[in-house]
């Protein structure tokens, strides 16, 4: 995709019912859905007239995103003289892709949540503000599975804490977590691998759904089987050795 230009304007025009090619022409702010006073319309037209073609669509997007003329004026000054490549690199917070297929990721390590990346796509002023924001103070990454799952907390909305049964938690602690997970998936280690408890049925007797992503199989097991260390998973494994306890995090 080459820069901000035509193709992005096209999708916005098609999907929003806003024709940004028109909205970025003087006298046509109303095409964005905003009604401007004559003075503001004149101000907006001046901004458009002074902007490069690639920047005009961004100003129209900013107007559609309900920014004030003062905010748009500041934004126009910030992007003045920048070419389409700079605008695309700076204002697309998803960033370049790494990997392919199911392993593909964008903007690895940028610290921007999927939610912010999407909202920034719809609002170039927000994108620039997020780019400007100081990165959060560096925190030492946690070890173990919890550390890996911290990397996707912005996606899952969950933070996990590692617990090893017999060391820093009991089997009953694990069962309590499973019974109160409220729909959050709980990774549990059985033998040499993690499987995921995806839900529970209060019964009686209470039972849990276990998905083994390595074998691709899903089974239900009763609480009694958990307590007895008799899970008998098709992919092997009878008892729980560790688990990661989930906590909802604020979006």
């Amino acid at each position: 995709m080459g820069g901000i230009s035509a193709d992005k304007r096209d999708w916005v025009r098609t999907m929003l019912g806003v024709n940004f090619a028109v909205a970025s022409e003087p006298g046509s702010a109303g095409a964005t859905g905003r009604r401007l006073s004559p003075a503001d319309q004149a101000h907006y037209d001046d901004l458009l007239a002074a902007a490069a073609p690639a920047a005009r669509a961004l100003l129209a997007k900013g107007l559609a995103a309900d920014h004030s003329l003062a905010e748009l004026t500041g934004f126009a000054a910030r992007i003045a003289g920048k070419d389409a490549a700079w605008l695309d690199d700076t204002l697309n917070l998803a960033g370049p892709a790494t990997g392919s297929g199911a392993a593909q990721r964008w903007g690895e390590g940028s610290g921007v949540s999927p939610r912010d990346a999407v909202l920034a796509e719809l609002d170039p002023l927000l994108a620039l503000a997020l780019r400007d924001a100081a990165p959060p103070p560096g925190r030492r990454p946690r070890a173990g599975l919890a550390g890996s799952l911290d990397q996707i907390a912005g996606t899952t909305g969950l933070r996990y804490d590692d617990r090893r049964i017999g060391t820093d938690a009991s089997l009953e602690d694990c069962i309590t977590v499973l019974a109160n997970a409220n729909g959050a998936p709980v990774p549990v280690m059985v033998g040499t691998r993690y499987v995921v408890v995806t839900g529970s049925d209060p019964g009686p007797p209470r039972s849990y759904t276990i998905h083994d992503p390595w074998s691709g199989e899903t089974v239900a097991r009763s609480e009694r089987q958990f307590r007895a260390g008799a899970l008998g998973l098709p992919g092997g494994g009878d008892r729980l050795d560790a688990f990661a306890a989930p906590t909802e995090v604020a979006p």
């Binding site: 199911a102 796509e121 998936p185 993690y194 691709g216 089974v219």
Partner: protein, 155 residues
């Protein structure tokens, strides 16, 4: 539930598991859409080679676009889906994953009410959480090879 093998889960598409709709008699999302059926969808998305991050972008984009749409529920969701796919394609600079598009549209075909839209968003969140988590799990630890017993040397 007895053992469900990967092939069974992959065959469990929305046209099968949504025949009874998104919501139960209480008007709330059917619990299995957050559990067993979400597991089935993760198996299908794995087969479709979907990036968990693309699914996260798409879920967030749907949530961003839904409040901007007007009309009856099926139209509102269909328009929001189209806008979300376009938004994400622009972000990732490539075509949307076809498996994800097909699944979303298959789900949308069963939406008739606003409660169904809420249930669809919740169902997709359950799929997303599980899919992202599974992708982040470490691979199984290799079992140590058994140490062969060495027969004692005879003099």
């Amino acid at each position: 539930m007895s053992v469900s093998a990967r092939a069974t889960l992959r065959a469990r598409t929305p046209d099968i598991y949504l025949r009874t709709g998104f919501c139960g008699p209480d008007g709330k999302i059917r619990p299995e859409l957050r559990d067993a059926e979400a597991v089935a969808v993760t198996t299908q998305m794995t087969a479709a080679q979907l990036s968990p991050q693309e699914m996260a972008f798409t879920w967030e984009a749907i949530r961003a676009w839904l409040p901007r749409q007007q009309g009856v529920a099926p139209e509102r969701l269909a328009t929001a889906l189209a806008a979300a796919f376009a938004t994400v394609a622009g972000m990732i600079r490539q075509s949307n994953n076809q498996g994800l598009i097909d699944w979303c549209r298959a789900c949308a075909a069963f939406v008739t009410t606003e409660a169904d839209i809420e249930a669809f968003v919740e169902h997709m969140r359950a799929v997303l959480r599980l899919y992202a988590l599974i992708a982040a799990l470490p691979p199984p630890v290799a079992q140590p090879l058994p140490v062969p017993s060495v027969p004692a040397l005879s003099e």
